[in-house]
């Protein structure tokens, strides 16, 4: 058995299934040489003539330009410049009907030729082997060359393919009836085309170069064979005339027996296809220094007196081409850009020739009969017999009519190349291709809607869950107060005493936290890591007071122990929420991370806010860390899945253990944990590592706070500060998108929690803290760019967090503090909205 390479060299050709033989009509236009047309009165140059981004305008109205001068410069991906096809004045820059089936207006430069046709100075190259790879790519790029076979894919991208190319396939098939542009170009300029091929050869170093030409072009075949005699790597292959053998996938199949995988590109199988016209342009650009400003266009059809190929300047109106060749319109005249099988009818003859225009076909009504009325499908399957992609067009048609989109995808609708062979043979004259186009568009639209609906659903459910929890929270509060009242008076007093002390301490603690959080938020806002001295001073003052309350706090440690169980439950709930978020599709990357915390936070609040604001803070911190992580995980692969959950449990367990046992030991443990976390954070350098570690510090904070505050507030504060700094660092190390999201929320939560605690005990301090928080929130609000409208979005847990606690302890509060939480809440909401927006943007940028 010969290898594939040997088989190809021995002249083996393969077949693709199906195909049709429409009347060729090539002899209309392939007798006369390619003509030169007089300069048109004006040229319309759309900025976008290829697949990819527009170039940037670098000329202005009224400016005089020379032939070959660049009018736009490439900017962004796949962007190509356009050039002045002749010298003259730019008389306008406006939106003009485009050379597209929709004819939607496209920004175009209108150039009035001065008749002198003066070139800009050209840089010629004689020896390309002295040019570097990049230099050649730049020449091709700056010459504005896009695939001239029809798709208009930027050639410099293909020429710069990073993947190994086994076969370079040159498409000179020209299987569409009527069109002879490539045929005539090969006959007249075979040498230049081969030079262009050799440029590609140097760039891509393929093992073999195969030129595919249909056997109905014997002149072109012999011309090309002669031109590439000197190069043993180039093989000219005459392939059987069969439409659509010029389709990229079909040609690859015929020449190499390979199949481009569905949804893939030829590079996936080591093949690259270039059109002969493109290679001619490459040769002109590299050797003569001429940018792409003209191309061969076949002007043909029975209403044209002198059908032939012409050199048309890019931007020439179709009217000019038709008039120059003698156009006698008939009733219900159709003017087709492209061939009769895949071309599209033009709404007007005032549309310009673009880089992908290969034919202008003006048929009368007998050579291409007007489409008859659509009749019922008799399931004869003539369409399936001719389908080059082995689809079942007849089945697809039923599904398309019934709008069964799932079925359409099952039957591989998206593998349809819209060649039109099925419609061509359909005895019922069903416009099959049209049905497929519509169905494809509808499916695409539906998919977008689905994604949006999914997002809305998640949001709604999060909101529902939150409202239910709110309800439950309120209920719990009411049911618990009587049980408290039932306790013996002495014990009650004792407990109340203890509680008040705890509250006092908590106030201190959270004030410290608030300070730190503020510092953090500020730093985030500034984007700097430098510490803020004023905050530190404040902290120190707080710590002193905390030390005084140390003893009292120790006694009350047990009071909270019962609540640990609920904390565990909360942790589990949070873990679940997180998992759910991950399960949700990756498309929702921006969405999922926003919601799960809502659940988590809600759960925590329920258990924690009623007794221990600190815990709430801890929970919030965990939730935040998790949110951040979830965001990252959903963006990348799910590799971080496993390690995410355990810590949540671990924290819960630690809390339990630590509070019940020896606080000191716990403190030691916490310290060790902190040290570890720190080390890990430092070790992390890459984004991934940063992600993985984003959690531990947060947990560490949780653990430390729990244990340490009971024993040594100072340590706790320090630990918390370190942990937080670490978390921040991790966040920054991770991608900017995440950084923006995660840090925005946490302060909001934190502020909410702190205030809650602070108001109960030390109104003044709380007021100060709240004021600072407000200032910060304001700052955050300012940073949020005019997106306050989004505040009405559903996830606004902090509003709850802040509003409810004051109700709980309303008697102890001053009116001022009641106001503050609300403001903070608003600020938090704004911050969240911002985060959400970021997430959305991030999603929008996602190429998928």
């Amino acid at each position: 058995m010969d290898t594939l390479l040997e088989q190809i060299e021995n002249g083996t050709l393969w077949q693709f299934p199906g195909g049709v033989h429409p009347p060729q009509q090539k002899s209309l236009s392939n007798h006369a040489p390619i003509a030169r047309l007089p300069l048109p009165e004006k040229l319309i140059l759309p900025l976008k003539q290829h697949i990819g981004a527009n170039g940037q305008l670098i000329v202005s109205k009224g400016q005089t330009v020379l032939k070959g001068q660049a009018l736009t410069q490439p900017s962004g991906n796949w962007s190509l410049p356009i050039h002045a096809p002749t010298s003259g004045e730019i008389t306008n820059i406006a939106a003009m009907p485009s050379a597209h089936p929709s004819a939607l207006p496209e920004l175009s430069i209108i150039l009035t030729p001065d008749g002198k046709d003066t070139w800009i100075p050209l840089t010629e190259n004689t020896h390309i082997d002295t040019l570097s790879h990049q230099a050649l790519i730049d020449i091709i790029h700056n010459a504005g060359i896009a695939g001239m076979g029809g798709a208009g894919f930027p050639t410099y991208i293909k020429a710069d393919s990073q993947r190994p190319v086994e076969f370079l396939v040159i498409n000179g098939v020209e299987c569409e009836p009527y069109i002879t542009a490539d045929d005539m170009l090969m006959r007249e300029h075979a040498d230049q085309i081969v030079k262009g091929i050799e440029v590609m050869q140097q760039l891509l170093t393929p093992e073999l170069i195969l030129i595919g030409i249909e056997d109905n072009k014997p002149h072109a075949i012999s011309a090309m064979q002669q031109a590439c005699q000197h190069n043993k790597k180039i093989l000219v292959k005459a392939i059987p005339t069969l439409y659509p053998s010029g389709g990229e996938k079909q040609l690859i199949r015929v020449l190499t027996s390979k199949e481009v995988p569905s949804g893939g590109i030829p590079a996936d199988i080591g093949v690259l296809v270039q059109n002969v016209g493109t290679l001619f342009a490459v040769s002109e650009a590299v050797f003569a220094g001429k940018p792409l400003i003209e191309r061969v266009v076949t002007v043909t059809g029975n209403t044209i007196k002198r059908p032939q190929n012409v050199w048309a300047l890019i931007g020439t109106e179709i009217k000019h081409l038709l008039d120059s060749q003698g156009f006698e319109p008939v009733d219900a005249q159709r003017v087709v850009m492209g061939g009769p099988m895949m071309g599209f009818t033009l709404p007007s003859v005032r549309i310009p020739v673009v880089k992908t225009t290969n034919c202008i076909l003006a048929p009368d009504n007998t050579e291409l009969a007007e489409p008859g009325e659509e009749k019922a499908c008799i399931r004869c399957s003539a369409c399936a017999d001719v389908c080059p992609q082995t689809l079942l067009p007849q089945q697809l048609q039923w599904f398309a009519k019934g709008k069964e989109y799932d079925k359409l995808e099952d039957y591989n609708l998206f593998d349809c190349i819209e060649c039109g062979a099925c419609s061509y043979v359909c005895p019922s004259e069903i416009p099959l291709v049209q049905y497929y186009r519509v169905a494809k568009a509808e499916i695409r639209e539906q998919k977008i809607e689905q994604v949006n609906a999914e997002r809305a659903k998640v949001r709604f459910e999060a909101r529902k869950a939150r409202l239910e929890q709110e309800q439950a929270e309120r209920k719990n509060r009411h049911t618990r107060s009587p049980s408290r009242a039932a306790k013996p008076a002495a014990e009650k007093a004792k407990v109340a005493d203890a509680l008040s002390r705890v509250a006092k301490k908590q106030g201190e603690q959270s004030a410290v936290q608030a300070a730190i959080e503020r510092a953090k938020a500020k730093k985030m806002a500034d984007g700097s890591l430098e510490p803020d001295n004023s905050e530190v001073v404040l902290e120190r003052a707080k710590r002193k007071e905390q030390a005084r309350n140390y003893k009292a706090q120790k006694q009350t440690a047990e009071v909270n122990s019962n609540d640990n169980k609920s904390a565990v439950a909360a942790a589990v709930a949070r873990a679940k929420a997180k998992k759910a978020a991950k399960v949700s599709e990756t498309n929702d990357a921006g969405d999922a991370p926003v919601n799960p915390p809502a659940h988590a936070v809600a759960t925590e609040k329920e258990t924690a806010t009623e007794e221990d604001p600190r815990k709430a803070a801890v929970a919030a911190a965990i939730a935040r860390a998790k949110a951040k992580k979830a965001a990252k995980v959903s963006e990348t692969n799910d590799t971080g899945d496993a390690p995410v959950n355990p810590p949540a449990h671990a924290v819960a367990t630690e809390e339990e253990a630590a509070t019940e046992e020896d606080p000191r030991k716990a403190a030691v443990a916490a310290a060790i944990a902190r040290a570890k976390a720190k080390k890990a954070a430092k070790a992390s350098e890459t984004n991934d590592a940063g992600e993985g570690l984003a959690n531990p510090p947060a947990h560490a904070v949780a653990t430390e706070e729990e244990t340490a505050t009971e024993q040594d507030p100072r340590k706790a504060a320090v630990a918390a500060a370190i942990a937080r700094a670490k978390a921040k660092k991790a966040a920054k190390a991770s991608e900017t998108n995440d950084a923006s999201e995660a840090p925005v929320n946490p302060p909001a939560h934190a502020v909410a929690t702190e205030e809650e605690a602070a108001t109960e005990e030390d109104p003044r301090k709380a007021a100060v803290a709240a004021a600072i928080a407000r200032a910060k929130a304001k700052k955050a609000a300012k940073l949020a760019q005019a997106n306050e409208a989004e505040v009405n979005n559903t996830d606004s847990q902090p509003i709850r967090g802040t509003i409810e606690p004051p109700i709980d302890s309303i008697d102890a509060e001053q009116p001022a503090t009641e106001v503050d939480p609300r403001k903070a809440a608003i600020a938090a909401a704004i911050a969240r909205a911002k985060a959400k927006k970021k997430a959305k943007e991030q999603e929008g940028n996602d190429p998928s």
Partner: protein, 352 residues
């Protein structure tokens, strides 16, 4: 200048449904003429009644359904159904047999399902089965070959028999069917079946007058004529080779195996291929695109299954011929077969 807009492709092969239908009807001509030659002109009379009835029924139902009458009528599908049913029933069957059949075929089997393209079953075969079950006597009263008749019947006689069930001299169909030797003749398939059931061998059965070398006298030529018409359809690319080849191949194979296993009670492959409606079924009936499979693999399964069923029913079933039953049974299986025989689309699997 106002230009006309249209979606691609802008060219068409100029194939049309009515051209397809007319081609199929033309391909029936050799078979019809052979039938007329051997079994009298009755078949032509039946044809005319059938086509007129079909046009009227189709027009009436289209009117009831508020559909444009002329485009549907002119596609020729109703006429083809009429032709196929007319050649399937005994040539001297009473006129109301074909009328009932056509009303059922067009009205029920075709239009009630939604008209051309939507019918699940082959209309001609649906009607044939209805007639066979409802009027077994009329539907099995096939004439023997003309020259075996005791008294040859004129064209006028056939006409009056069809419309009045007696000829000009008052003889009924049953009397007329009596052959030279004074016995009433069944079709070759029926004869063999009856003979085998009476413990005669097939070769003994085939010694009777109405047999020639390979199969029934006359019948074998009718089948050959339909085969020729079918080959023309293949050549004209109106039908694909899959269904006829699979049908004939499966029938030949089954009967060959049967013959080898028990040559006494089983007729050979040739007998099966050239008897009854084999060739008409293989090229004209099973290939009805609307009710047949649409994938190549599916068509092979479809055709082969019909072939096997035809053999099984002929050999072991209660009816002498089986094409109509086999086709209808497989019509039911079409959606299933189509579902499981999707071809591999370019770029899916294999080369990955």
């Amino acid at each position: 200048m106002k230009l006309t807009m249209a979606s691609s492709p802008h060219n068409h092969s100029q194939k049309s449904v009515s051209k397809l239908m007319i081609t199929v009807m033309c391909a029936c001509i050799p078979g019809i003429l052979t039938q007329a030659y051997f079994f009298g002109f009755g078949v032509l009379i039946q044809l005319i009644i059938a086509i007129i009835t079909a046009s009227l029924v189709e027009a009436a139902i289209l009117k009831l359904r508020n559909r444009p009458i002329l485009p549907s009528l002119s596609d020729g599908s109703a006429w083809l159904t009429a032709v196929l049913l007319a050649v399937s029933i005994p040539s001297l069957a009473p006129w109301w047999v074909i009328v009932v059949g056509i009303v059922f075929a067009i009205g029920m089997v075709k239009q009630l399902y939604g008209g051309l393209g939507f019918n699940l079953f082959n209309p001609a075969m649906g009607a044939y089965v209805l007639l066979l079950i409802s009027f077994p006597v009329q539907m099995t009263s096939w004439m023997p070959v003309d020259h075996l008749l005791a008294s040859p019947i004129s064209f006028l006689d056939q006409l009056t028999i069809i419309f009045t069930q007696t000829n000009s001299t008052g003889l009924t169909l049953d009397t007329l069917r009596t052959s030279i030797d004074g016995t009433t003749m069944a079709t070759p398939l029926d004869t063999v079946k009856t003979a085998v059931s009476q413990n005669l061998t097939v070769s003994e059965a085939m010694n009777q007058l109405q047999f020639s070398a390979y199969a029934g006298l006359g019948w074998q030529w009718v089948n050959v004529a339909y085969l020729i018409g079918g080959l023309y359809l293949l050549k004209a690319k109106v039908i694909n080779w899959h269904i006829p080849t699979a049908f004939i191949g499966a029938l030949a194979l089954c009967s060959a195996i049967g013959y080898i296993a028990d040559s006494g009670s089983q007729a050979g492959s040739l007998f099966h291929l050239l008897s009854g409606a084999t060739m008409l079924g293989a090229f004209f009936i099973a290939t009805d695109p609307v009710s047949a499979c649409t994938t190549d693999k599916g068509r092979l399964i479809f055709g082969a299954s019909i072939g096997v069923l035809v053999y099984v029913i002929r050999q072991f079933g209660g009816y002498p011929d089986a094409v109509a039953f086999a086709v209808l049974l497989l019509n039911m299986a079409v959606p299933l077969i189509d579902h499981y025989t999707q071809p591999r689309t370019y770029g899916h699997g294999a080369s990955k």
